[in-house]
């Protein structure tokens, strides 16, 4: 019985951690700009492919540059971090192309949705042109030295998922500490709270916005690399599903709330893990039904705050 409960909790944490990571990416941009960056799923895919290439992986026969790769072969963790950084830079490019022109024209928030969705689709298609549509698996020695799985009080979890959990936890804790304790983190929060006042206080809100996009992309890239090593890269659209789940978590946790994104991710993971075996094929539907119920009872999400009407 204890083993079954522990297994459920481990399963929940393993999937919920990645959802929380993606939701945090959405949260950072939403809290500063008040819009959702729909390109985040594509950035997640990009992070996975960059990690693969940085580890010395080659482009397949159906890719744009068959048999080619990068002239480096980094171990997994350095490759993951470099890929996350590069994905952050790609996120900045998305900001420049899909968000800046609209912001300058003070466009409706709905338009950001379309441009970011478009940027994401272009990015996924570019990935498909370059890498081909087939699946890529990381070399089995990517995590050499670790046992394949751990048995904890009768519950099993793959080592790669423990690593995934640890990296997610480190990223989430690190980001929370940075937001709360560093000058830049607090400046970012100030811009999120009220951009005009923050600007009057001498904070460069444009720089903070770019920082939010950089971090958001890096988190997505980190998620993509971790998922890649855990379940391989089944195709350039791998990030879209995670992007959708992250979006659900963002709403579930409360729009713009960092603790809410973490709690929402874990709750969605738990909802999926609690689905009984007989209904396992309906896991997504049941998990989203729970999300629907939570939102009926608490429209602002788990930890979201009701925004007072401005007069």
């Amino acid at each position: 019985m204890i083993a079954a409960i522990l297994q459920t909790l481990l399963n929940a944490a393993a999937s919920g951690g990645v959802y929380a990571l993606v939701a945090l990416g959405y949260t950072l941009v939403f809290s500063v700009l008040g819009v959702i960056n729909f390109a985040l799923g594509a950035l997640f895919s990009l992070g996975g492919y960059l990690t693969y290439l940085l580890m010395g992986g080659l482009i397949s026969a159906n890719g744009g540059l068959p048999g080619r790769g990068l002239p480096v072969a980094l171990p997994f963790l350095p490759a993951l971090l470099v890929a996350a950084g590069l994905t952050g830079l790609a996120s900045l490019a998305v900001e420049r192309l899909a968000f800046t022109p609209l912001r300058r024209r003070q466009a409706e928030p709905l338009l950001y949705l379309i441009t970011s969705l478009g940027a994401g689709l272009v990015l996924v298609n570019l990935l498909q042109m370059l890498m081909g549509a087939e699946g890529y698996a990381f070399p089995s020695q990517a995590l050499a030295g670790l046992p394949a799985a751990l048995l904890i009080a009768g519950a099993r979890i793959r080592s790669v998922q423990v690593l995934l959990l640890l990296v997610c936890a480190a990223a989430v804790i690190g980001l929370s500490l940075w937001l709360e304790r560093s000058l830049q983190g607090r400046a970012l929060q100030a811009v999120a709270e009220d951009a005009t006042t923050a600007r009057l206080l001498g904070i460069d809100s444009e720089a903070m916005l770019r920082l939010a996009f950089l971090l958001s992309g890096a988190l997505a890239g980190l998620g993509g690399g971790l998922i890649g090593v855990s379940i391989s890269l089944p195709g350039p659209y791998v990030g879209i599903g995670y992007g959708l789940k992250g979006l659900a978590v963002l709403v579930l946790g409360g729009l713009g709330s960092v603790p809410g994104a973490i709690a929402g991710g874990l709750l969605l993971g738990l909802a999926e893990a609690l689905v009984p075996a007989e209904a396992s094929g309906w896991r997504d539907a049941l998990a989203f039904a729970i999300l629907f119920l939570v939102l009926l009872l608490r429209p602002t999400g788990l930890l979201g705050r009701r925004t007072p009407d401005k007069v």
Binding site: N62, G135, A148, S159
Partner: protein, 417 residues
């Protein structure tokens, strides 16, 4: 005022009717079936065949094998002194139903004589009815779900249905471990092939008095199987029977082994491609799979197929899916040649030529790399030999082979050593 409004409504209705009529007329004009066959052929007199295979999406692993099989068949056909040459129009069918439907419509409207494809049974159930309505012969190279040829008289397949071959791998697993009692079943519930095949597997298990201790359902897009695997492992299975598509299957086997499962694994036709090796790597070793093709079949056509294959991929034997795609093109090619020799295509419209080709296809006998095959009147393939293979991975774990361990035609199922 009232009269004015009535007149406006009448005008609108007339406009709508005219619009619908125009669309219907344009639709008729777009259907090339009524044109003479000569007008539908290429300037060099070549007849067009269409192929719709999955080159993108999660079924692209099969599509790559199929493209190679069709390319090899075209090379082979050029050496057969054809009396009527064929040209191929290849369209990506994606891995979903809308893409396959769009590709079928496109090729049919372009006036192809017959179609090969689509890759997945799930797609066939959506796209084949279009070909059936338009009277275009279809030869499916890889659809194994029950009911594909029954879509209509224009639909046939060279891929033996799961019901015939899938139980063989269960037999082999039981032969290896007659004492096994605890079986876990995992399948993708939103995929026609997987749901059809798992029923056959479960019937084969029931026929031997085995009831699954757990049935775990996944979805086509799933790649993280932590939850269904740990739920299955809690039941301590001795055999796991899997019906999912290739990429997901590779991931599932890898995760199953990583989570500590050491028992036998039987997989369905979805994993019948060497393209799974890079995904499940060393964890693929030992899985059992029933096959409709043996690279070791010593017939002239299979040797010719192997020679052509080895030119592009030295050292590796072709997969079942490649052999089936080769055979799909071959049967159409041979039927067209027979028809042409008899003058059976002279003076026909494209629609009539399509119907004549279908009748010719079903009446013929073919010596293919799969062995001798022919068709039942409703388009089902009749094939005599089936096999069970075990995946044996190379020490590096990046490549491997399907090693035959059982031949169903040898005295009702002899073991190969």
């Amino acid at each position: 005022m009232q009269q004015c409004r009535q007149r406006g409504s009448l005008r609108l209705a007339a406009l709508l009717a005219a619009g619908i009529g125009l669309v219907a007329w344009l639709g008729q004009q777009a259907d090339p079936a009524g044109r003479p066959l000569a007008a539908a052929t290429a300037p060099e007199g070549e007849l067009s065949l269409g192929a719709v295979i999955s080159l993108t999406g999660n079924a692209n692993l099969y599509g790559q094998d199929q493209r190679r099989g069709i390319d090899l068949a075209r090379q082979w056909s050029r050496s057969q002194a054809p009396v009527r040459r064929l040209r191929l129009q290849l369209e990506d069918g994606g891995s979903d139903e809308p893409s396959a439907i769009a590709a079928f419509n496109l090729l049919i409207n372009q006036g192809v004589l017959a179609l090969i494809g689509p890759t997945l049974s799930q797609q066939a159930f959506a796209a084949d009815p279009i070909a059936q309505r338009r009277g275009v012969p279809v030869v499916a190279p890889s659809n194994t779900a029950r009911g594909i040829p029954q879509i209509g008289p224009f639909i046939s397949r060279v891929s033996a249905q799961s019901a015939v071959i899938a139980p063989l791998s269960i037999q082999e697993a039981l032969r290896r471990d007659p004492g096994l009692r605890r079986v876990a079943v995992i399948y993708a519930q939103d995929d026609a092939y997987s749901t059809a095949e798992t029923l056959i597997f479960q019937q084969a298990l029931a026929a031997r008095g085995l009831m699954p201790v757990t049935v775990q359902r996944t979805q086509l897009a799933d790649n993280d199987f932590q939850i269904p695997i740990t739920a299955a492992l809690q039941q301590q299975p001795q055999l796991v029977v899997i019906s999912v598509q290739a990429v997901a299957g590779g991931n599932l086997i890898r995760q199953l082994r990583e989570l500590g499962y050491r028992g036998q694994i039987v997989v369905g036709n979805g994993l019948n491609t060497p393209n799974i090796y890079p995904i499940c790597q060393r964890w693929c070793d030992g899985i059992l799979i029933a096959q409709a093709y043996s690279p070791e079949l010593a017939t002239p056509i299979n040797r010719a197929f192997q020679r052509l294959y080895q030119r592009t991929t030295p050292g590796a034997p072709p997969s079942q899916i490649t052999a089936q795609a080769f055979s799909a093109y071959q049967v159409l090619f041979e039927a067209v040649q027979r028809l042409q020799r008899r003058g059976g295509l002279d003076g026909l419209s494209l629609g009539q030529a399509r119907a004549a080709l279908m009748a010719e296809l079903l009446s013929g006998r073919y010596d293919t790399p799969l062995g001798p095959v022919h068709f039942t009147p409703d388009g089902e393939v009749v094939q005599g030999r089936f096999y069970v293979a075990e995946v044996r991975m190379d020490p590096g774990g990046r490549s491997g082979r399907f090693a035959l361990v059982r031949d169903s035609s040898l005295g009702g199922g002899a073991t190969i050593r």
